[in-house]
């Protein structure tokens, strides 16, 4: 392996998210709220050959560990993802994402007439289905483009 490749692939401290479905890396960054303006050092591999997924994406973020709510949303678009927490260049922890039964406070309902998008003191909540999420208030089902509904 060349030095150039090593600089891209090794991080000292941070998180490596592996086994993301091919083409979803930018959506993963959207879930993490990373748009390049906040200074994190990020490496992305897209459409990397993978025995398990055919093509996979890999995201490495330096000096950042993921919160549970970030993992919950990540599980919706990357159910096979593995999370490697790196400390001192070593894999300190390795986790699979788990699909929660409900996600709260991280997605906004796509129905503009839903009470959860009104000025009410409630947190948007969604039941997690096999192939999407469902608003517990208005029953709207969101299947496509989940990252577009992430609360910022």
């Amino acid at each position: 392996m060349t030095d150039r490749e090593l600089r891209v692939s090794k991080i000292e401290n941070g998180t490596v998210i592996d086994h993301i479905p091919g083409g979803q890396a930018l959506n993963v960054l959207a879930i993490l709220g990373i748009d390049g303006t906040s200074g994190e050092v990020v490496s992305i591999g897209m459409n990397v050959p993978s025995d398990r997924l055919g093509r996979k994406d890999v995201v490495k973020v330096e000096d950042r560990e993921l919160s549970q709510s970030e993992l919950d949303v990540l599980s919706l678009i990357a159910p096979a993802a593995t999370i490697n927490i790196i400390r001192g260049y070593e894999v300190a922890e390795k986790h699979r994402v788990e699909r929660p039964t409900e996600v709260s406070g991280i997605l906004q309902c796509s129905n503009h007439n839903c009470i959860s998008v009104d000025d009410e003191p409630i947190t948007p909540r969604f039941e997690v289905l096999d192939d999407g999420v469902r608003c517990v208030y208005c029953d709207t089902i969101i299947r496509d483009d989940l990252p577009a509904h992430i609360l910022v």
């Binding site: 129905n111 007439n113 839903c114 009470i115 959860s116 009104d118 000025d119 009410e120 003191p121 409630i122 289905l129 469902r134 608003c135 517990v136 208030y137 208005c138 029953d139 709207t140 089902i141």
Partner: protein, 304 residues
Amino acid sequence: MRHDHITSTKQLSRGDIEAILDRASDIAADPSAYADRQEDALLGLLFFEPSTRTKMSFSAAIKRLGGDIVDMGPVDSSSVKKGESLADTVRVVEGYADALVVRHPSEGSAQMASEYVDVPLINAGDGAGQHPTQTLLDLYTIRESAGLDGLTIGIMGDLKYGRTVHSLAQALTNFDASQHFVSPESLKLPRNVRYDLHEEGSSIKEHTDLETILPSLDVLYVTRIQQERFPDESEYRAVAGEYQIDADLLSAAKDDLTVMHPLPRVDEIAYDVDETSHAKYFEQAHNGVPVRMALLDTLLEGEP
């Protein structure tokens, strides 16, 4: 029935529904036996959008049980006008009443409101979401006229935004009912209702015109197609005309077909249908009182 609140027909089992309908039958047979059942009970009415039948029949129902209403009145003269949230409004009003009835233009409003109160809360219509008490009186009317099992029903009109349709379709999955959905392409059942019917194992039989299935129907449930659902008036007129019925068209139906409508109608049922034995929509509206009496009596006393 083990529900503190009635927000959606999805929460009601066949047993829950039958218990309410049985009680409604008892009430209809002998209203005087229930005249003092809920003496001193106060029902809080919070209608954030207009209502005639639902509001008046809830008022009649609690009064015929011996209770009374406290009414928020029109939104224009309430604290909502000052920007108060629904969550705050219901938390205040639950201190004035033993149960609340809420109609609100936003989907999910009743579910949200129910999370803030301890008294029973009844959804009287949440935007294009649900209208469970309308469904209970619809089911009562169907049971009286055609029976709820072995039923073939056609549900026609605005199936996408029609809250009475959503509640009825979901409730009918508890019974042996074959449901046919008749609508323009743009107003078909929404994804969430289709999902629920699919989960319950119901097949979704959809049609764009009534004539092919009319002869097989025991019940035809007609709803209004609203002009504001269409980009322009000419498109609305072209489509809406396809989903209107008259006495002549019903000559192809079974003699004992029951025609229902949650009302108000505009022109989707011609006045000449009123004179036929098919017309049950005024009886249906009248059934709102005994059915809502039965529901209030059940919720206010706790376990039936």
